[in-house]
Assembly symmetry: D2
Homo-oligomer: 290 residues x 4
């Protein structure tokens, strides 16, 4: 049972993960990935006909990230089968489940069955690594959506959390003039220490007219109807914040402003790198358990 | 006649240039741009029915970059008219022609007619500015064509000329590990001074297997059939060198290697920025003449 | 009483702070700074003969950073007077004390007398700003203490906290090859995201022989006698950790290794910048109180 | 005679070079370095009693950089002997001389005696490598001579030649705000491409008041009496240009401005790195001759 792992469901990142696990010497049992052409061509993978077959011979079971997108069934875009969360959990007795966004009701069931679980999206390490892909994907979008170079542009990043930190470094690295907006003195001190132009939220309005590109990372509507009026007409706004985002979408549309709402970039722009990050995090998490 | 300028033919960059010249207070007479929707909507532009009308009231005439792509007619993608080089030159008596790639036969005719001319593509300033767009466009391609982040990748730049210098800075700025290949000790010293990993052409072969992305800027076939065998199977090669390029294309195809031949990036990825650079260069060139 | 502030004791940074406060329009009353030649030449400062005179007309009193270095008297290097903490606190009724490192016994007395106090060294903002000076001072030391350029050297930073983050950016910015040691997966992820070479503590020993310069920020003895044997003979070690530091000093001396223990750099290498940071932090702290 | 080399005279860099040549397996014969304590302790070096002994058994003779500082005798700071250039050249028949700044009269004599010579200071490679040390030494001076951090300062670099290019990258890398002054459109384009703030010489005067630090690399007096009046009173000027430099020294002194004239930095701030660069250049030069 050493060096065996089960993989159930998941998207392209999980497919790439399977390839890497095999390259690292694991025996990998899969279920719910039967439509992946990459896997069909891959030597050494054990694609199992039933869930039970797939999980029998390993202790660790990797599930989708996120585990479910409808709160009922497992995320299995590479399968025609529907697998309910209940049915899935049934098979996990005594095993370790590794997946993303394991919600509280599910956690309660897992606890009651003594299934150990690791939520990748709760591991700071994984979040940090993912900012690399998110930042790079954002820059790619900025390049694609403008008729000018990003180099030389005035770019505002709203929020100086994980993504803000990595994104500002990269943008500055390709020659953009980077401004970062924050509210907390501590964050503004970091922005200064890293060498970007700090802008306190209170001073945002009087600066808004100078930006060519704005990237929002704050899950709170800062760019409201009134502030949108202060922007350049040819602004490009990229909103990375999850629902409801940081921009008044309706107003932006009415004002004919270019707004791109970009979510889940890591899996889209760099699935292989994402798979590497998943793999690293899994290895570290499993190591901690021993 | 102060602050008047004529623009004849040209691509999207030239259209954007017209917009900028008008914004700067010029009266702009155009010919051969009648299919540009941007211009049709633009207030203040004088779209003339004949070439003669277009050039009568200004001393400086801006032509396409390059002037011609078939050595016979002017490059006029936004027009259904064909305008021969001869006919065009006929109208330039006593004027200053500003265009790109003015070939020797044309230069001889211009000299004989005492037409002053400025070849933008021969101005070092313009070439340097264009490297900004070329470098950024190359990075955009690298991001689009790989399933991994460029961050963290081993990237080889072959040649340390203008493009190599700007590209290495940007790539390093987004977190790639940058290696630069050169032959001359002087170039290798620069690579070291700028903090990239220098690789002498003589040491290229033994290093080739480690690169994830290779960007060629040398107009000479370095990546021949034999060297292509030394590359990673999932390499991405971007060739920026003009015909015949630096890669054995046929072999690359046979070996199923991903090769992108990317020419004329500035106009494609950042036409507005290109127009700005054209404008700046024209202003400087005209200033020098006074 | 608007725009009046008292300053009692303190070092060169506090002297510079007085200059800046006056330039900002404050009336500044000082005590315990009578030996500062800078202040003697400065117009507009109110140097008071007694502590009482100095604190009467303002609500905010700025004290030394740290408040005391012997736990008994105020830090007053620019005075021949000794002022005990008790005597000082006596005069603070109803005022706001701003100083550094206000110890618990002092805090208890202040609380009992309803004196509001702000410990600058406990404000994250101030700590972050100070890392700028610390990082730059460290680089200055590295340049002075080596016969080689820092550019091109293999530099190890031990610990990826505040100082590690800013220092790695600057060192990389002048062309050093930066390695960062950490224990936590999260920190190692940040190191990777920022583009430096991560080294897990477990892998430290096998890497130690390649470094030219080591900078320690961890207040725990990592570089013990055994590890010191693994270093290059001409290593330069800069220890930024406060007592007892991160290096076995005795062993380092016996082995004839170059070790610089560098504490309190901000005040030494950049007193004016430090004063600016003190000023900014005071302004923000006072604003919060209203 | 394979792997033998002679070293005659020279400063600390040459002493370090001898150490490196021996470490590389060369037999090294020296003359005129007898006062160097480093060499006295070094095993394997052949310190010869006469010049003739020192040059008999090798083909390549390394001399001082520069060869002479008084145009009469060899530069031999580590010797009490005076050795005239004539006497030295006498012994070089059939040999290759490698030294710095070989003046025309000397070159003529060498030619007449068929001595091959390599002037290191004429090799672009060596000049480029030396900019690394010069740039870093300049930053060290800037750190030492100011009471503020270089981070966050407005720094003007006058001239965008070799030193300007490397210095701007490093200064920007530690967080300075970098402005570069130039005259040529081409240089200004490079400044923009690299992401610094370009300032045309014509616009210099109106910008001068904003700089905290000015570094001059132009061997022509730009900062004349009139311009010095436009500077901040606490400016720090570092002049890297050789005699007469780029600053009106007399006026600067009268106006009490801080001016540091910093020449020959590589040998002073990083003698070992300089020796490495000398070694590399010698190896490349000798290789070319075969």
């Amino acid at each position: 049972m050493e060096k065996a792992i089960s993989v159930v469901g998941g998207d392209l990142r999980i497919v790439k993960l399977v390839e890497m696990l095999i390259a690292d010497g694991y025996t990998v049992y899969t279920y719910g990935l039967e439509y992946s052409e990459d896997l069909l061509k891959l030597e050494g993978v054990e694609m199992c006909p039933t869930l039970k077959d797939a999980v029998t011979d390993s202790r660790a079971v990797v599930g989708p990230i996120p585990l479910s997108s409808d709160r009922k069934n497992l995320s299995m875009p590479f399968s025609h089968v529907k697998l309910s969360l209940e049915e899935f959990i049934e098979c996990l007795d005594g095993k370790t489940l590794i997946a993303g966004n394991i919600t509280e009701p599910i956690r309660n069931i897992l606890d009651s069955k003594s299934v150990v679980y690791i939520d990748l999206l709760k591991r700071e390490e994984f979040s940090v690594l993912n900012t690399i892909s998110t930042a790079e994907g954002t820059i790619q979008i900025a390049m694609e959506e403008t008729q000018r170079t990003v180099h030389g542009r005035n770019v505002l990043i709203m929020g100086f959390g994980r993504i803000g930190k990595v994104l500002s470094k990269m943008l500055s690295g390709i020659g953009a003039k980077v401004y970062c907006e924050a509210r907390k003195d501590e964050d503004l001190a970091w922005i200064k220490a890293y060498g970007y132009e700090p802008i306190h939220l209170n001073d945002l309005d009087k600066n808004l007219s100078k930006f060519d590109i704005i990237i929002n990372t704050i899950p709170f509507q800062i760019l409201d109807n009134k502030r949108l009026d202060l922007l350049k007409k040819d602004i490009v706004i990229i909103d990375l914040a999850s629902n409801p985002g940081g921009v008044d979408r309706k107003s932006a549309k009415e004002k004919n402003l270019k707004l791109i709402w970009a979510l889940s970039l890591p899996g889209k722009v760099a699935p292989v790198t994402s798979a590497e990050f998943i793999k690293e995090t899994i290895y570290h998490a499993l190591k901690e358990m021993h």
